[in-house]
């Protein structure tokens, strides 16, 4: 069991961090925030498919 668990271990890595002054953010968290902002903007500007035909 422990051998199996050990064999599936992924390398331990602190990840990549970005920092500006007192602000520090991990790359994964920053990516999620950027994706959310992009989705928010796209939702406002992109036309909805078939929207004009709907009642």
């Amino acid at each position: 069991m422990f051998e199996q668990l050990a064999s599936t271990d992924v390398p331990i890595s602190p990840g990549t961090y970005f920092g500006w002054g007192d602000v520090t953010i991990q790359s994964g968290n920053l990516a999620v925030i950027i994706v959310m902002v992009i989705l928010f903007v796209l939702a406002l500007v992109l036309p909805f498919p078939g929207g004009k035909r709907r009642k």
Binding site: L5, T8, I12, A43, F48
Partner: protein
């Protein structure tokens, strides 16, 4: 003594069933949420916008979270930590959570800027905020269950915060068994109940119209009422109801 009979309403004779609490509850529920509002066949034209998609996107994410979570709980940690299929289902669970939160936050942003609590929708807004908060706690307990150095770090950082607010002895993030039970039993029930209540509130009050939707919009008032602003109405009809032939 006056024995003259005073006519009283007879709910059973009237077929309203108001004598019993079940009858009263049924009448109240049908009044609040008639079947045509619970399962509508069409929506106003302004719903045909990406701004109205993300709430249902979050619900779809939640469906995947619950389905993958059921599979994980049926097979157990020794399966999802070791086998390749277990790893896959575990990853489906994680990425469903990522999408659930991404969609929920975008939904929250859009509804905030639409002031979606307008028109008696305060409870819809509050249940949505509750769903967000309970989801954060649920996701937090999920991160604790990774049983790796990340979860150990998260647990021992959170331990101090929970002790500081006085609940650390009862909600003990270092107690893996307790956190496991919270994550697979209590918190999913809470998230499911609050999200279901939120969706029901949306159906009761309807989706919120855009802020710039005029009060004279034909879709925002009773279809049988005829407005005095015929020019506005005809314009609205030509854009909203294409089947209405304009002269």
């Amino acid at each position: 003594m006056n024995t003259e009979a005073v006519p009283v309403p007879n709910p059973e004779a009237d077929g309203t069933g108001a004598y019993t609490w079940t009858g009263k509850a049924r009448r109240w529920l049908l009044k609040q949420l008639p079947p045509e509002k619970l399962l509508p066949e069409d929506q106003p034209s302004y719903v045909a916008s990406w701004a109205y998609v993300f709430g249902m996107g979050a619900v779809a994410g939640l469906v995947f979270i619950i389905a993958s979570g059921v599979v994980l709980s049926l097979n157990g940690p020794q399966w999802y930590h070791v086998s390749s299929l277990g790893h896959f289902v575990n990853s489906v669970h994680l990425w469903s959570v990522e999408l659930f939160f991404i969609f929920m936050v975008v939904h929250l942003w859009i509804k905030f800027w639409m002031a979606a609590w307008r028109g008696g929708r305060l409870l819809t807004w509050i249940t949505g905020m509750l769903a967000f908060l309970v989801s954060i706690v649920t996701a937090f307990t999920g991160y604790l269950l990774q049983t790796n150095f990340d979860s150990q770090w998260i647990a021992f950082e959170a331990k101090d915060a929970l002790n500081a607010v006085g609940i650390g002895a009862w909600f003990n993030v270092a107690n893996l068994g307790q956190i496991f039970m919270w994550h697979i039993m209590l918190l999913p029930l809470a998230v499911g109940a609050v999200v279901a209540l939120h969706v029901v509130m949306v159906r009761v009050h309807g989706v919120v119209p855009p802020i710039d939707a005029a009060e004279t919009d034909a879709q925002l008032r009773d279809a049988t009422s005829s407005g005095t602003d015929s020019a506005t109405t005809s314009v609205t009809n030509s854009t909203v109801h294409p089947e209405v032939k304009q002269p």
